[in-house]
Amino acid sequence: MSSDVALQLLTPDGTLVRNDRTSEYLPLIEALDETRLGDFYRQMAVIRRFDIEAGNLQRQGQLALWIPSIGQEAAQVGSGYAAMPQDHIFPAYREHVVGRIRGLDPMRIIEMLRGLSHGGWVPSETGNFHLYTLVIGSQSLHATGYAMGIALDRLTGTASGAVDSGKDPAVLVYFGDGASSQGDVSEAYTFAASYQTPQVFFLQNNQWAISVPVERQSRTPLYLRGEGFGIPSVQIDGNDVLASYAATSAALTAARTGHGPRLIEALTYRMGAHTSSDDPTKYRENEQVEYWAARDPIARYETYLRSLGVGDDFFAEVATEADDLAADVRARTLTLQDPPSTKVFAHVYSDPHPLIEAQAAWLAAYEQSLDESDDAELDEQAVGA
């Protein structure tokens, strides 16, 4: 699980790593101001609290499913902050904090997992954070197509506004170790390499695809797969928020400036279940969980911030913010209403479609007939009384 080749800027005990390899990346960290360094912690801590609350809501029957991200906060927060506002992000389904960084109201995720929507958020309103995709790995192709489109904008002259490769959008796509076995991911690597797309593949290797260990997915480290496709690839310590930020920033810059796609394999660990529907004690040993608990992404980063002089006030303030968000999410979840039955038919097509219209009209008439028969029954009861 540990790797000698993984880029690490912050050791598990919270010390900055200074050596020949990190010297390339450390300037990216040194360029961050105090606020952004604080944001890294804030987002990690707040999303963990949110995650716990959502898990509780699921246990209490308020959600059909919960997908926990505990343990993967550093991989997600670092890479999420590396993206520029114009970039497009294609998540898998566990990147709650990346959505939050981009402006997605976490309630949209709650609504989806309560069964009120299939996502339904609009990327242009959520910082170009696209919908979750549950068919494992399929979003890798959508991301690649989107990145092909960015490249074609320049080549075909359909770009709006002046072309400035430093400010052009790039694409960041998330997937996992399980997805890396999907044909779609290999096809995405192929297309990305062929068309030299401006995109970064961000592979969170959390060691487990539900109950199957990564050793069953691959005999070779997953970042080496990228090299085989002609995509420069790097393995990082995914529980190190600074490594995640710096490696993703560098990769996005390369992609954005015409150097083609990049792959990052972030070694991390899913501390909880795959989803609320499984029981990880059935397939993995406590020893492994403890190993990773000692490498917790938030604890190590707190140590680092404290070494910079960040004090108790800051951490207390973040804890309050996290509790407030959790309370707000709980309160709002309890007021959620089921969607109207007309939502079944809404937006199956963009242009008019006679079959859908006929079925919607039938359902409306059917529901009305039920209402009327209910009324009739009530009337009979009233007469009987």
């Binding site: 197509g145 989107y146 990145a147 074609l152 044909g183 097509y349 242009d351």
Partner: protein, 325 residues
């Protein structure tokens, strides 16, 4: 002005017009650029519009569709070519689970104007996986539109209508009709995109089909006329949605209907039409709705395609059965 064109040329001209009219239109697929496609439907288009508008892709159908989805998100209108009917299945998930559902998943905020061209059907004597009729899989999938032109005129206009629409369209091209010439009027008018159409009027029996089968139905109607039976022939043109208006009106007149297709009959487009006619024209029917189709077997080796594929004789056998009631 009426021109005599093959369907392959008519679709080629339709694609050319779409590329010229809208810079967001892209063609993508295997061998469609320099080669012009294995059926030459995209011949000359790369030379005219360049490799960034007519894109030769790596050999991966799932990625052709999956990246077309991403391109549509970026504002493009991709037209994908699947080289042969039997090669569409590696792209099936991206078509049915992704493309078909993404507007629904986005609650209408994003549109996915992706057209997937599929040369399909038999009668060309080709090897396995090159003569199939998989249209029912897609007609069964909510979120997709499925059409199939039977004539060069429809080939020219319907491909442009498919590209101009805002929904994903499966565009099934009957490859045995690629090289037959027919009248094309490029000045229009275009027919309604997803309307079925009476292509021969008659009074005794209604014959319904799509794609290459329309020619077989017309041939059967000619023979039937010699035998004193007046057959009305309807070209479905659209398989999802199906325009039942002309079909039901015809059955009300003839009382008999035979539905023909190359695809296997079980759980097929023909089954759906049979069920709907039985539901909606029950009192007009003088005979059961009859189906003529490929058998429920894999497409056989090419030397047996004449046994497998419905022809005028098998259609007429069904007509005789319908008239016997």
């Amino acid at each position: 002005m009426i021109e005599q064109l093959t369907m392959a040329k008519a679709i080629n001209l339709g694609l050319q017009k779409a590329l010229a009219d809208d810079p967001r239109v892209l063609l993508m697929g295997e061998d469609i650029g320099t080669l012009g496609g294995v059926f030459r439907v995209t011949e000359g288009l790369k030379a005219e519009f360049g490799e960034n508008r007519v894109i030769d892709t790596p050999l991966a159908e799932s990625a052709i569709i999956g990246t077309a989805i991403g391109l549509a998100m970026r504002g493009y209108r991709p037209v994908c070519e699947i080289q042969f009917d039997g090669f569409i299945y590696p792209g099936f998930d991206q078509i049915t689970s992704q493309l078909a559902k993404l507007t629904y998943r986005h609650e209408g905020a994003l549109q996915f104007p992706v057209v997937i061209r599929v040369p399909y059907g038999g009668h060309i004597g080709a090897v396995e996986h090159h003569q199939e009729s998989p249209e029912a899989y897609f007609a069964h999938t909510p979120g997709l539109r499925v059409v199939s032109p039977a004539t060069p005129q429809d080939g020219y206009w319907m491909i442009q209508q498919a590209i101009a629409g805002n929904d994903p369209v499966m565009f099934f091209e009957p490859k045995s009709r690629y090289w037959q010439k027919g009248d094309v009027d490029r000045e229009g008018p275009a027919g309604e995109f997803q309307a079925s159409r009476v292509v021969r009027t008659g009074t005794d029996v209604t014959l319904v089909g799509h794609g290459a089968m329309v020619a077989a139905l017309l041939q059967a109607a000619d023979i039937a006329a010699d035998e004193g039976t007046s057959a009305e022939v309807i070209d479905l043109r659209s398989l999802s949605p199906i325009d039942y208006g002309p079909i039901l009106a015809s059955v009300q007149k003839t009382g008999r209907i035979v539905v023909a297709q190359e695809a296997p009959g079980s759980v097929s487009v023909g089954s759906e039409i049979a069920a709907t006619v039985a539901e909606r024209a029950f009192y007009s029917l003088e005979a059961p709705v009859l189906r003529v189709s490929g058998f429920d077997t894999p497409f056989p080796p090419a030397k047996l395609e004449g046994v497998y594929l419905p022809d005028a004789d098998r259609i007429l056998e069904a007509v005789d059965r319908a008239l016997a009631y």
